[in-house]
C-alpha cells in the first residue's frame, strides 16, 4: 500500500496532517485528516470570572474572535439568567453582521474566487488575490479592501478593538451607538449591500456561466450527502445570532430543532485515537462511521447547510438570491460542497441587508443597554452561527460566577467528519492510477476542504496553491519513492 502524507497543512491556529493511503495500483483507498495538536482552551477558562470569558475567548483565534465573543457573551447571559435589553441585542447583532461581512468578503475574494477566476490549475504564483485582481480589475480590488475595512471599522467602533472585542457584558453591552455614528454605519451598510450584490453577479458571470466550472461544482468529486445544521429564527429563516438550531436530513426533512441549553440531548462527540479534534454527530441517529446518507450521524454546519436547514432568508434581496440558487440547482437540499461559496455570498447579502436594517432602527441609539442582574450564577449555554459553523459555548460556575468547567464545540469541529469524508472523496476522484500529481492536482484536493473555511488552522485554506504541503509517495513497504513539496 502506498501512503501520501500532507504535513503540515496548518501553521497558525492549529496543526493538521493528511495521510492518503493508496493501493498498489495508485488509487486512493483511505484518507485520514488528523489534528495532532491540543490547545486546551476550555481548561484555560477554568478559574476565571464568567464576565471576563467573552474577552478571553477572542484570543482563541484572530480570525473569528467576534463569534467566540458572541457565543461566550450569550452563555454569560444564561449563567446569570438574564436577557440583554432589546437595544443591547440589536447592538450585538449590528457588530455581528459587520463581522460576517468582513469575513465572508475575505474568504470569497482571497481564497475561493482565485480558483475559479484565475483557474484551479493556473500557476500558483497567479492563483491568489493579486492574480484575481489582474483578471477582474483594480476597481474591484479597491472595493474589496474598502468594504472589508469599513466592516472592521464598525466592529472596532462597537467592540473597542476589531479583534480583541470588549463589547458584551452579562445582560447587555458596554457601549451604544451615537446618532452621528449611526448615520455613518447606515452609509457603510448601504455599500455592503451593493458590494454583496456585485459579488453575486461576479459569481454568476464567472462560475455559473462557465460550463466547465459549473460541471466541476455540480458533478466533480466534491459532493457529500449528509445532514445539514443551522440556526433559525421563529420563521425558520437563517439567523446568525439567535434562535434554535435546526437539523434537516439528507432529503431536507426536519430531524430536530433545539434550544441552546438542549444541545447535549442532540449532539454527541466521538473521539478518535488519531486526532485531538473531536467528531460531533447527531445523538439520536448515533455514530455510524464516516458514512453518507440517511442513516449517517454525520452532519455539516456551513453556509450551505445553514441555507439547507432554513426555509428562507430574513431579508428580501437575500431571499431572492436564496430562491435563485435552489431553483438553479434543482431544489433543496444541495450536497455539492463547492456550492458553499455561492451560499456564503447569499449570506454576505443577508448580513449586509440586516446590518442596514439594524442601523436604520430607531432603537439602535437607545441608552437602555444593560438589563439588571439579580440571580445567582450557575450554568449557561450560548450558541451562534460562526462563519465556519454552529458555535456552542457552555460554562459552569460556582455561586460567585467563577468558571468551574467549560465546553466548546467550535464551528469547524462540527465539520470534522465531513471534512475527512470530503477529502477522501476528492482524493479518490482526483488521484488515480496514471495521474501525475501536480501542483494543480494538489490544489484540487485542497479545494475540498477550503470550501469549509475551516478554523482549526487558517492554513487549511491558505491562499490557493500556496498552502505548505509535503506529499510523500511511498511504495507498498512504506519507502518514500518521490516527494513533492511547496
Amino acid at each position: 500500500m502506498k501512503q501520501y502524507t500532507i504535513d503540515p497543512i496548518t501553521r497558525l491556529e492549529g496543526h493538521g496532517k493528511i495521510d492518503i493511503f493508496c493501493t498498489d495500483d495508485g488509487n486512493v483507498e483511505n484518507v485520514y485528516f488528523q489534528v495532532p495538536e491540543l490547545r486546551g482552551f476550555e481548561k484555560f477558562c477554568e478559574g476565571r470570572p464568567i464576565e471576563e470569558i467573552s474577552q478571553i475567548v477572542t484570543k482563541i483565534c484572530g480570525v473569528c474572535p467576534g463569534c467566540h465573543h458572541m457565543a461566550a457573551g450569550k452563555a454569560a447571559d444564561a449563567v446569570f439568567g438574564v436577557q440583554p435589553t432589546s437595544a443591547a441585542k440589536k447592538i450585538r447583532e449590528l457588530f455581528y453582521m459587520a463581522h460576517f461581512v468582513h469575513s465572508h468578503i475575505a474568504h470569497f475574494y482571497a481564497l475561493a474566487a482565485p480558483d475559479f477566476v484565475v483557474g484551479p490549475d493556473a500557476p500558483k504564483a497567479e492563483r491568489n488575490i493579486v492574480g484575481l485582481i489582474a483578471k477582474v480589475g483594480v476597481a474591484t480590488g479597491t472595493e474589496v479592501i474598502s468594504q472589508r475595512r469599513k466592516a472592521q471599522e464598525i466592529q472596532a467602533l462597537l467592540g473597542g478593538h476589531q479583534t480583541h472585542v470588549i463589547l458584551n457584558i452579562p445582560g447587555g453591552v458596554r457601549k451604544g451607538l451615537k446618532e452621528e455614528e449611526r448615520k455613518d454605519v447606515v452609509e457603510k451598510a448601504k455599500g455592503f449591500v451593493e458590494f454583496a450584490r456585485f459579488s453575486l453577479k461576479l459569481f454568476n458571470d464567472v462560475v455559473l456561466s462557465n460550463k466547465e466550472y459549473l460541471d466541476l461544482v455540480l458533478n466533480g468529486p466534491y459532493s457529500l450527502k449528509i445532514h445539514s445544521m443551522g440556526l433559525v429564527d421563529e420563521k425558520n429563516h437563517v439567523n446568525f445570532y439567535d434562535g434554535k438550531v435546526r437539523v434537516v436530513d439528507t432529503e431536507g426533512k426536519e430531524l430536530c430543532k433545539y434550544s441552546a441549553n438542549e444541545y447535549r440531548e442532540f449532539v454527541a462527540e466521538r473521539v478518535e485515537p488519531w486526532s485531538y479534534l473531536k467528531f460531533p454527530y447527531l445523538k439520536k441517529i448515533g455514530w455510524n462511521g464516516f458514512t453518507e446518507g440517511q442513516t449517517s450521524g454525520v452532519y455539516q454546519a456551513t453556509p450551505l447547510s445553514r441555507l439547507n436547514a432554513a426555509d428562507g432568508m430574513a431579508t428580501p434581496l437575500a431571499q431572492e438570491e436564496y430562491e435563485r440558487m435552489y431553483s438553479t440547482l434543482g431544489g433543496k437540499p444541495v450536497h455539492a460542497t463547492l456550492v458553499m461559496h455561492w451560499a456564503r455570498l447569499v449570506e454576505l447579502l443577508y448580513a449586509s441587508e440586516h446590518c442596514l436594517e439594524l442601523a436604520l432602527d430607531p432603537e439602535i441609539t437607545s441608552p437602555d443597554l444593560r438589563a439588571r442582574i439579580d440571580k445567582v450564577p450557575t450554568e449557561g449555554v450560548g450558541i451562534v452561527e460562526a462563519q465556519r459553523g454552529t458555535l456552542t459555548h457552555h460554562y459552569w460556575t460556582d455561586e460567585k460566577g467563577i468558571v468551574t468547567k467549560a465546553n466548546l464545540i467550535v464551528g469547524t469541529t462540527n465539520n470534522n467528519a465531513a471534512i475527512c469524508m470530503s477529502l477522501k472523496k476528492a482524493a479518490q476522484g482526483i488521484i488515480k492510477q496514471g495521474v501525475t500529481v501536480t501542483d494543480g492536482i494538489l490544489n484540487m484536493v485542497e479545494m475540498a476542504f477550503r470550501a469549509y473555511d475551516p478554523c482549526f488552522s487558517c492554513a487549511t485554506h491558505h491562499l490557493p496553491g500556496t498552502m505548505p504541503l509535503v506529499v510523500n509517495f511511498r511504495d507498498k513497504d512504506g519507502n518514500i519513492i518521490r516527494s513533492l513539496s511547496r
Binding site: R11, I129, V130
Partner: protein, 160 residues
C-alpha cells in the same frame, strides 16, 4: 535611516499565548514614552490584508513580531528591512493573503504604502502555552528588550 514622515508601529501576537504577547506588552510601555509621541502604536493578532489600512497614511512602518528559532538567545532582537526576510507567522493571514501578496496588492491598487518597512523579531521561548504571563526567560529580559526595541524605533522612526 530616519523616517521622513509619519510612523506606525504595529505589534503582533496574542497576550493569551505567553511570550506571543510580548509585542503588546512592549507597546504598553513604548506608547507612554515621550520620545514616541508622534508614533502611532497599534496591536494586531495577524497581518494579511488587514495591514493595508493599518499602513495607510504612514511613510514608515515598524512591525514587531516574535520568533522561536531556537538558534538565538531569548530576547535577542533581529532587525530586517523588507524585503530581506522570509515569510512570517503573524505578518501573513492564512485566511486571506501573505505579507508579500498584501504589499503587491496594495501597490497594484495604487494605495500608498510605507517607503520603508522595518521588521523587528524578538526570539522567544514559549508561544504555544495558554497563559497571560510570559516565560521566566523573557520576563527576566523584558527591560533589556524594551530598551533595544526603543533604541531601534528612535533610530528608524524618530523625528527628523
Amino acid at each position: 535611516m530616519t523616517c521622513p514622515g509619519k510612523t506606525v508601529f504595529i505589534g503582533f501576537g496574542s497576550t493569551a499565548l505567553k511570550d506571543d504577547g510580548l509585542p503588546a506588552h512592549l507597546i504598553g510601555h513604548l506608547a507612554t514614552d515621550p520620545r514616541f509621541n508622534h508614533v502611532t502604536f497599534l496591536t494586531s493578532p495577524v497581518g494579511g490584508l488587514e495591514l493595508i489600512p493599518l499602513f495607510s497614511g504612514h511613510s514608515c512602518a515598524v512591525l514587531l513580531d516574535t520568533v522561536k528559532t531556537g538558534k538565538a538567545a531569548p530576547g535577542e532582537v533581529s532587525h530586517v528591512i523588507y524585503p530581506d526576510f522570509n515569510e512570517t507567522l503573524h505578518l501573513s493571514s492564512q485566511h486571506d493573503a501573505s505579507f508579500e501578496q498584501t504589499l503587491a496588492l496594495g501597490k497594484k491598487l495604487g494605495i500608498p504604502l510605507p517607503e520603508k518597512i522595518h521588521i523587528l523579531a524578538v526570539e522567544i521561548v514559549d508561544n504555544l502555552t495558554l497563559g497571560e504571563g510570559m516565560s521566566p526567560a523573557i520576563t527576566e529580559r523584558f527591560d533589556a528588550i524594551l530598551s533595544l526595541v526603543g533604541d531601534v524605533l528612535q533610530a528608524v522612526g524618530g523625528r527628523r
